[in-house]
Amino acid sequence: MMDLLWLVPALPFLGALVLILFGTRISRTMVAVIGVGSVGLAALITILVGTTFISSSESSFNLLLWSWIDVAGFSPSFALHLDPLSLIFIFVITFVGFLIHVYSTAFMAGDEGFSRFFAYLNLFVCSMLFLVLADNLLLLYLGWEGVGLCSFLLIGFWYEDKNNGDAARKAFIVTRVGDTAMAIGLFMLFDAFGTLAIPEILAQAPQVWTVGSQTAVIIALLLLGGAVGKSAQLPLQTWLPDAMAGPSPVSALIHAATMVTAGVYLIARMHVMFELAPLAQQCVAIIGAVTLLLAGFSALTQYDLKRVLAYSTISQIGYMFLALGVGAWSAAVFHFMIHAFFKALLFLGAGAVILLLHHEHDMFKMGGLRKKLPAVYWTFLIGAASLAAIPFITAGFYSKDNILWLTFASEKGNVWFFLAALFGAFITSAYTFRMVFVTFFGEAKSTVTHRAGNLMTVPLVVLAILSLVGGFIELPHTIGHLELLSDLLSPVLPSVILRPGIASAEWAIQSISIILSLSGVYLAYYFYLKKPALPGKIKSSFAGIHHIWFTGWGFDVLYQTIFIRPFVWLSTMYKGDPVDKCYTGIVLLTDFMHRVFAKTQGGILRWYIMGLVIGAIFILTLGLLL
C-alpha cells in the first residue's frame, strides 16, 4: 500500500501533462474531470497511504524512484521520503487542494483559459508534493522552484492585464532572491556533508558541528533566506499582497494554504540545523514577531478584501515562524494545518463574494451581504472566527493559543515575543471582524443577481467544518489535554522544552489572550457598526501613519529605490554595451589614420617630390649628425 506513494505526485503531474497536451481539444467537463479527479485520487491515495503509515510502527518510509544525478559523490536521486511531518503536509495539500479544485470548476466556469488553469493548478500540486516529499534537498529545491513557477503562472493567469504580469514577475523575482540564498546554503551543506539527503544531514549535523558553530549559523541563515522569500516574511514579504492579482482559488491554494507555508516546512524539516544555530533560530523568531505585527497593521487599513487576507496570511505565517523560532515545532505545524483550512475558506469565500459581485474587490462597496449570500456569510464568519481565535469553538483558537503559550513558556521564548504575539492576536481579531462587518453587515451597496452554486458551497462548508473541529486534535493542558498531533510528530520533531516552574501560568495566559481577541472583535464592532463615521475621522487625522500602513510600511518604495531603479538605470546605461564601444573606438582610430594617410596620396606630383626631398634632407642630416 505504501508503494503507491509515488502516485500521489504522479497523478497531478499526469493530469497537468494531459491538460497541457490535449486541454484545448477536449470538452470542459473532461477538463474538469481530469483536473479535479487527479487531485482527488491523489488525496484518496494519501489517506490510504497515511492510514497504513500511521498504523505501521515505522517512523519513516523511503521510496526511490530513480537516480537523478550521480557525479563524484554528488548523488541526489528522485526519492520520496514519507514521515509524519510530510504526511501532514501532503494531506493538507491534496485534501485542501482537492476542495479548491472542485470550487474552481465553478469559479472559472466562464473563463476561456479553463484548461490552462487546471493544468497549472495540477502542476502546482505536483510540485508542492515533491517539495514536501523530497528525500534530498535538491529534489526539494526542484519542488520549491516548481511551485514558484506555478505561482508566477497563476498570478499572471489573466495575462492580458499588464498589472497582473507585473505582480507575477514581482512574486517570482522576490522569491527567487530567497531561493538563491537557499541555493548557496545547499552548496555549503554539500561541501560540509558530501550529500544533500535530508535524513543523513540531520543525522550527521550534530556530530559535525557544535551548537553555535559559525558554519551552521551561516547555513541556517541561508536556508532561512529561502524560507523567508517563499513564506513572504520580512524582508521579502512585498510580493504576497500583489500576488492577489491571481484568481481567488489560486490565492486560496497557493498564497494561503500551501506554497507560502513551504518556508515553515523547510525550517521544521531542517530543525536540527536551527537548533545547532541558536542565532539563526532567534532570527526566525524575531522575523516572525516583527512580520506578524507589521502585516497586522497593514491589514487594518486595506480596502481590497483579498489584500486584507493577504496581509493576514503574512501575519499568520509570522506566528508560525515565531513558533519555530522558540522551538515549538509541532505548534507551528499545527497552526499551519489549521491556517490552511480557515484561510483557504476565507479566500474561497472572498472569491465567491468577488465573483458574485462581478469582480468587485473593494469591500467598502459591498455591505449587507449577510442576507443575500447566507451560505457564503456563515462559512466566512466561521473562517473569520477561527482566524480571530474566538475561544473554545474554533480551531484557530487552539492552534494560536498553543503558540501564544509556548512563546511565553518555551525555553527560547521571552516576554517580548509573547507581547508581540499577544498584540498581534488583538490586531488580528480587529481586522478580521472589520472585514466581516464591512462586507456582510450594514447597508447593501451592490446588487447580487445570483447565489453561489453547489460546487462552490460544498467546499466552503467542508472547510468551515474543518475550521471548527480541526482544532480538537490538539487540546491544551487546561482544557482536555489532548496531543494527537504532537504525538504523531514526535519521531520527527522534538517537543518543546518549557522553562521550569511555569506550567501553572497557562490558564492566565489563555485568559489574557481570550480577552484580547474578544476585545478586538468589540473594537471592530464599535468602529464599523456602532459608529461608522469614526474610522474616517481617525484616518484623516493620522493620514501619515495610515499611508505607511496601507502601503505595507513602504517596503515597495524602498526596494524600488535601492534595487530596481539602480538596476534599470545601470541596465539602460549599459544597453549599448560599453565594451563594444572600445572596439568601435579602435575601428574609428584606424579609420582616422586611414583618412590622414590617404591625404598624402593626393595625386599632386610635386608633393610626392617634396616628400622625397624632405626624406633626403632627413637622411643627410642624420648622416651629418651621427
Binding site: M610, V613, I614, A616, I617, L620, T621, L624
Partner: protein, 175 residues
C-alpha cells in the same frame, strides 16, 4: 685650364637657372642646350672627351630634339606662355627655395669637408671606357639594352591614339 672650368661652370649654372625660370618652352630648351654644352666642356676638362661628345650628341642633340618634336605636336600657342606665367608665381618659389638651400648647404658642406683635393686629371679615353663596358659591366649593357627596348615599346604603346577606349575607362572610373 682652371679658368676654362670655372667659366664653363658659370655658364652651366646660369643657363640652368634660365631654363627653370623661362615661360616659353622653346627659350627654355635653347638654354638647356647651352647648359648641356657647358657641362660637356667641363667633362672635357675632367678628362672625359668621349663622354663630352656623348653629352653633346645625346643630351643636347637627341633628347632636346625629341622634346621639341613633342612641343611641335602639342601645338602650343601664345596663351600657353601666358598660362605658364600665371602658374609660375613668386610665392611658389619660397618653399622649394628654402628646401633646396638647405640641401645645397648640406651638399656643399659634405663635398668641401671631405678633404679630397687633386690636380691634373689623366685622360680616360673611349677605349678604356669600352673595355670596362664590355668587360665587367657587360650585364649592365645588356640591361640597358632591355631598358631601351622597353622604353621604345612603352613609348609606342602610350603614344598611340586610343582615345575612345581610354575615354570610356575614365568615364567609368569617374562614376
Amino acid at each position: 685650364m682652371e679658368v676654362t672650368f670655372y667659366i664653363a661652370s658659370a655658364v652651366a649654372v646660369y643657363a640652368t637657372i634660365m631654363v627653370i625660370t623661362r615661360h616659353n618652352l622653346i627659350h627654355a630648351l635653347l638654354y638647356l642646350v647651352l647648359s648641356f654644352m657647358a657641362v660637356a666642356v667641363v667633362f672635357y676638362i675632367l678628362g672625359a672627351p668621349f663622354i663630352a661628345a656623348l653629352e653633346v650628341i645625346m643630351y643636347a642633340g637627341a633628347i632636346v630634339v625629341l622634346i621639341i618634336f613633342v612641343i611641335m605636336m602639342l601645338n602650343l600657342k601664345a596663351e600657353a606662355v601666358e598660362q605658364e606665367r600665371k602658374w609660375l608665381s613668386r610665392g611658389i618659389f619660397i618653399g622649394p627655395a628654402v628646401l633646396s638651400l638647405i640641401l645645397l648647404v648640406e651638399l656643399l658642406y659634405v663635398v668641401t669637408a671631405s678633404g679630397v683635393s687633386s690636380s691634373g686629371y689623366p685622360m680616360v679615353d673611349a677605349k678604356a671606357v669600352g673595355m670596362s663596358l664590355y668587360g665587367p659591366y657587360v650585364i649592365g649593357v645588356e640591361l640597358s639594352g632591355i631598358l631601351l627596348m622597353s622604353g621604345i615599346v612603352g613609348a609606342y604603346h602610350l603614344g598611340r591614339q586610343k582615345k575612345k577606349i581610354v575615354h570610356r575607362f575614365l568615364e567609368k572610373a569617374e562614376e
